[in-house]
């Protein structure tokens, strides 16, 4: 059995921009630009980046909820040989879908208001056509119990539930088919602080019980730090840094990661943050800067950064896309 459950190679997604009367397209947005990474079985990979960095698009691409422009997405499931899901036909993909699932951001719009909780959770099972009605019922009850939903509430409709409860329904729906890999796209950001903690705990518990691998997408670094084993930092459709979380927070090697961490508001009035301000805003992805995409906002940029795009280099398990990674001694965020 392969160690990596998912290997992504040179994945890109371009969205064409249509203009004018004939809707011709001569420009495109590179939402995800030549991205490669792998996820190990049983780990949680955190994916962080600002809005517009392409993290949601990447999350959808790896499930093939969206067709990529180029690249490979290879899964190694526990009972099968490796499959590149981009080469699969629709029917074959259908079978794979029960192994890869998604938990969405907004628990209010991601549940159909006309379906009961039981039907929402059972929908994926029904679509699979492998179970009888009574089997489905049993599975729904089992999974609802695991997600700490009250079994008496299964006949109710989503509107009767609070945000946290709805997110539990969303999680139960994703886990009903026993997936091996789950993408969580900002799954706790819409929740209140006290509820958020419960859902994060639930994700962790279920991971242990069901042996699930997560791709956890979020913009809140303190949550990502809490839940992830490794973290990927994205900027303008590219991965700029990848490392296990301790290494990343103790020894960031990309200036963008340094700036991102320095901007985390610390819940401690005596430790005032000292943010490193990035000039300007995230550039327009239709027409990205030459050289390193980050150079117009980078405090350490040199002439070389303006001309040459850095390739990703490995320092052990720490991968960075920066020309000056070794020579810069960036600010440590925390010592573990």
């Amino acid at each position: 059995m392969e160690d990596n459950i998912l290997v992504v190679k040179n994945l890109s997604k371009e969205f064409p921009i249509y203009k004018g009367f004939l809707r011709r397209s001569n420009m495109s947005v590179k939402a995800v630009n030549n991205v490669s990474f792998e996820i190990r079985r049983g780990e949680t990979l955190g994916l962080v980046g600002e809005s517009g960095s392409g993290k949601t698009t990447l999350g959808r691409l790896v499930l093939r909820a969206m067709e990529p422009t180029a690249g490979e997405i290879v899964y190694n499931f526990a009972d099968e040989k490796s499959v590149d899901i981009l080469k699969l036909k629709k029917k074959q993909l259908y079978k794979i879908r029960s192994k890869i699932q998604m938990v969405f951001q907004d628990p209010y719009s991601s549940l159909n208001p006309r379906m009961t909780v039981r039907d929402i959770i059972a929908e994926t099972l029904v679509a699979n056509k492998t179970m009888s009605r009574s089997e489905i019922d049993n599975r729904v009850r089992e999974i609802a119990d695991l997600c700490k939903l009250n079994l008496e509430h299964l006949r109710r409709f989503p509107h009767a539930f609070s945000g946290g409860q709805r997110q539990r329904i969303g999680i139960a729906r994703a886990l009903a088919v026993n997936p091996e890999f789950v993408v969580c796209d900002e799954s706790v950001s819409a929740l209140d602080v006290s509820v958020q903690a419960e859902i994060i705990n639930l994700f962790k518990e279920l991971q242990v019980i069901k042996d699930i691998t997560y791709l956890f997408i979020a913009h809140d670094l303190s949550i990502v730090e809490h839940i992830s084993d490794r973290i990927i930092v994205m900027y303008l459709g590219q991965i700029v840094e990848e490392a296990d979380k301790k290494t990343l927070f103790e020894n960031p090697m990309h200036p963008y990661t340094e700036a991102l961490m320095s901007a985390i508001p610390e819940p401690d009035p005596l430790r005032k943050m000292a943010p490193i301000f990035l000039e300007g805003e995230i550039p327009n992805p239709i027409n990205p800067p030459t050289g390193c995409y980050f150079h117009p906002r980078c405090h350490y940029a040199t002439e070389r950064c303006k001309k040459e795009m850095p390739c990703r280099r490995c320092f052990g398990n720490h991968k960075v896309a920066c020309h000056r990674a070794e020579e810069l001694h960036l600010k440590q965020y925390i010592k573990y």
């Binding site: 600002e50 945000g163 209140d192 006290s194 705990n201 809490h226 508001p265 819940p267 401690d268």
Partner: protein
Amino acid sequence: MDKKTLLEVKDLSVYFNLREGVLKAVDGVSFNVDKNSTVGIVGESGSGKSVTAQAFMRILPDTAEIKTGEINYYKDPDNPIKIHALPDKSPILSNIRGKEISMIFQEPMSAFSPLHTIGHQMIECLMLHTPMTKQEARERSIEMLAKVGISNPDKRVDQYSFELSGGMRQRAMIAIALSTNPSIVIADEPTTSLDVTIQAQILKLMKDMQQEFNMSIIFITHNLGVIAQMADTIQIMYLGKIMESGTAEEIFYEPRHPYTINLLKAIPKIGSNTGGKLEAIPGQIPGPFDIQKGCKFCTRCPSAIKGLCDQRSPEIKKYSETHSVFCWKCLEQEK
């Protein structure tokens, strides 16, 4: 009354008269806003923090009414303006809105009119509240846009809100709010929709502007990290009531109320408990119409005292001049 006090809120209650019944959004809230200080109001959704702020400017929805309480604005220390008692269309009230007290909203996209340029909206506000001519107001707008760090302000002033990015829009909103030189700025979740790096910039900008314009800020948020960085004093709200209030240090280092203590434990802290479990608050926030006697938090409180907490509203317990808690457990410990 203290000389430093600028805004005094006494026993404020705001009720919504809805078809389903009476919703007590704010229920007996009291606190003071001192000159040149930042008061943080922290609470989860439904805690009434935004409604409290709306009451200060009397911009509550039609279904809401100020049931009891006072909002006194001490522009002149001897002659306070009673905001709660002003008639709806009073000229004093329109002078307060936007001139004395102004507001920074959460959603910079929906707070601006998409039909008018940024400059138009700034000039409108300035001409309404100051004796400036249109030309002067335009110059002042450009000056303000430059002050909040918008590049090419003379070009931006003629642009529409949708032409600006999220961070720029929030800067423009701060520029409008500050253009009339208000004494109090209410910031209702001003950075919630922004990225962390932009959030840090906006928070810095607000602090710098506070220094420059000598104003008080009422900062409303659910983010405990942001409030720790910004506030001098903090009010913790839950279901329309203040649970605990104190200086930022008192709240974060010596929290007394079970709700505050649990809230602080529920947020993940970087580097502290790697892989450990977070301590979530059990249960969920009760619905607004689930009328309950006693302390509002007693349904979820780990140290609730049966027969006391669920029967009678807790009284105030003062730990210091600034630090007070509404909790029976804290009162019982005293005895």
